[in-house]
């Protein structure tokens, strides 16, 4: 049976991707950012997930204003990097896991989350920058990645609560997949930033740090934050942080925070990063046996 072993959140600032692509990671400005992910890469090398579910948003790359799906799950076999106006990023093609992805789609739709299914989709820096931060720059990504694109471009994005509940439904779906797979869920975007209008450049470290604290200890409190509060306190584009709640919803109520990193700025943005493990990730065979029963109770439906 597949299981979620951990969740990872990270900002996905495009300038981080540009720094990688142009070999500028050793410059002091960028070293400050990249050094915060050294331990994470070590953690990832040990965790060795079989599949990553990558929650991110598209930035007018694959989706324009023609079609704006709230939740779009990538069920294709592969997802080429999108041309974001400067040619596609020189990163490996993201290989999907169509079988698990379509299983997740089927399960969460019956759980009343009306996903859009994408059998053809290109992915932009929103997904590929966090992959770089956690896996470095390999020839091929070390495992399949199932992209889940969330609309945070046109207001309103899904509520934090909806995102949190979708995370729970995704976990339930993963736990009913017969193959024995270790899954890590990525929540990306944020933290505080505003890149539009006269208030551009806004950073609110106090909000960000409280968000990180509560992400570990009290995610249900975060799930109640209304959109106006994100936009007012964390900047118009800081609302991306709702995507972190999908990751958090896919984890246990109580988790171990194994790593955290925060720095200001990367370009226009506060960079936040956290790794949360489900407790007793090792030796959970006995505990696992009870899990489907528990999640059925939680969902209120068998």
């Amino acid at each position: 049976m597949a299981r979620v072993i951990a969740g990872v959140s990270s900002s996905h600032v495009p300038a981080i991707g540009a720094a990688i692509d142009n070999n500028r990671t050793e410059e002091p400005y960028w070293k400050r950012v990249f050094s915060g992910f050294e331990k994470s890469k070590e953690w990832m090398a040990k965790a060795k997930p079989d599949v990553v579910v990558g929650v991110y948003n598209d930035h007018a790359s694959s989706f324009s204003v023609e079609i704006i799906p709230t939740f779009a799950l990538g069920c294709a076999a592969e997802f080429p990097p999108a041309d974001e106006g400067w040619g596609p990023r020189p990163v490996p093609v993201v290989k999907g896991h169509p079988d698990l992805a379509s299983h997740i789609a089927q399960s969460v739709i019956l759980d009343e989350f009306d996903l859009t299914i994408c059998n053809k989709m290109e992915v932009d820096h929103g997904l590929t920058v966090p992959l770089n931060l956690l896996f470095g720059s390999p020839e091929e990504w070390p495992c399949p990645v199932i992209p889940l694109a969330v609309n945070v471009v046109q207001y309103p994005p899904p509520t934090g609560h909806r995102c949190y509940m979708l995370g729970r439904a995704i976990r339930k779906a993963i736990e009913t997949y017969p193959e024995d797979l270790k899954v890590v869920v990525f929540g990306t975007g944020g933290m505080s930033h505003q890149i539009s209008g006269p208030r551009a450049g806004l950073i609110n470290s106090k909000f960000d740090k409280a968000f990180l604290d509560n992400l570990t200890k009290n995610p249900k409190k975060l799930a109640r934050i209304p959109h106006i509060e994100y936009m007012r306190e964390a900047g118009a584009e800081g609302i991306e942080m709702v995507m972190w709640l999908i990751m958090r919803g896919a984890l246990d109520d109580k988790v171990d925070e194994v790593y955290r990193f925060y720095t200001v700025p990367a370009s226009n943005t506060a960079v936040g990063h956290i790794i949360l493990e489900n407790k007793k990730a090792a030796g959970r065979k006995t505990k696992r046996a009870a899990a489907p029963f528990k999640s059925a109770l939680r969902g209120g439906r068998p």
């Binding site: 495009p14 300038a15 930035h59 007018a60 790359s61 324009s64 204003v65 023609e66 704006i68 041309d83 974001e84 106006g85 400067w86 471009v153 046109q154 207001y155 309103p156 505080s192 505003q194 890149i195 539009s196 209008g197 006269p198 208030r199 551009a200 450049g201 806004l202 950073i203 609110n204 470290s205 106090k206 909000f207 959109h227 106006i228 936009m231 007012r232 306190e233 118009a236 584009e237 200001v264 700025p265 370009s267 226009n268 506060a270």
Partner: protein, 149 residues
């Protein structure tokens, strides 16, 4: 037609890209999206006015594009991820555009970011309504009734 009022209109210096702006700015954004293709960037650069004829823009949107009035574009329904493509076509970095939108030089803007960014204090609310809301429950609690926010 006047714009419907929303709670987020109270956030200073911010144009929230909502359904109404998206509808209003559809062709403006699709124009920006077209700049993803090299041949379109070339055609636009060769003759901006002529290229814009391909899109049913309002005169105001057209003027904002030609004059590179980035805040005005947002006000007229442009979205930053789309208008950024116009900036990129001009060869500008994102920080350059951000500096323009904030009425600052790129150097000063970059300095502000390095020093921790634009502070939230003083930048929450146009009307101060945000503060007033928070003060209300406190004054009510004097009468002994505790309310949960």
């Amino acid at each position: 037609m006047t714009r419907a009022q929303h709670d987020y209109d109270d956030i200073p210096g911010t144009f929230v890209f909502d359904a109404e702006r998206s509808r209003q700015g559809y062709h403006l954004n699709m124009f920006c999206m077209s700049l993803m293709k090299a041949e379109n960037r070339q055609a636009f650069k060769a003759d901006e006015e002529k290229y814009l004829d391909r899109f049913p823009l309002t005169p105001e949107q057209r003027e904002a594009i030609l004059k590179r009035q980035y805040n005005r574009m947002l006000e007229l329904g442009g979205n930053i991820y789309f208008t950024a493509k116009l900036g990129a076509t001009d060869g500008h970095s994102f920080q350059h555009m951000a500096a323009v939108m904030t009425g600052s030089t790129q150097e000063d803007y970059a300095k502000m970011m390095l020093a921790g960014g634009r502070p939230i204090e003083g930048n929450r609310s146009k009307s101060g309504a945000n503060k007033a809301k928070k003060a209300k429950p406190r004054s009510r609690s004097k009468s002994g009734t505790k309310r949960r926010g």
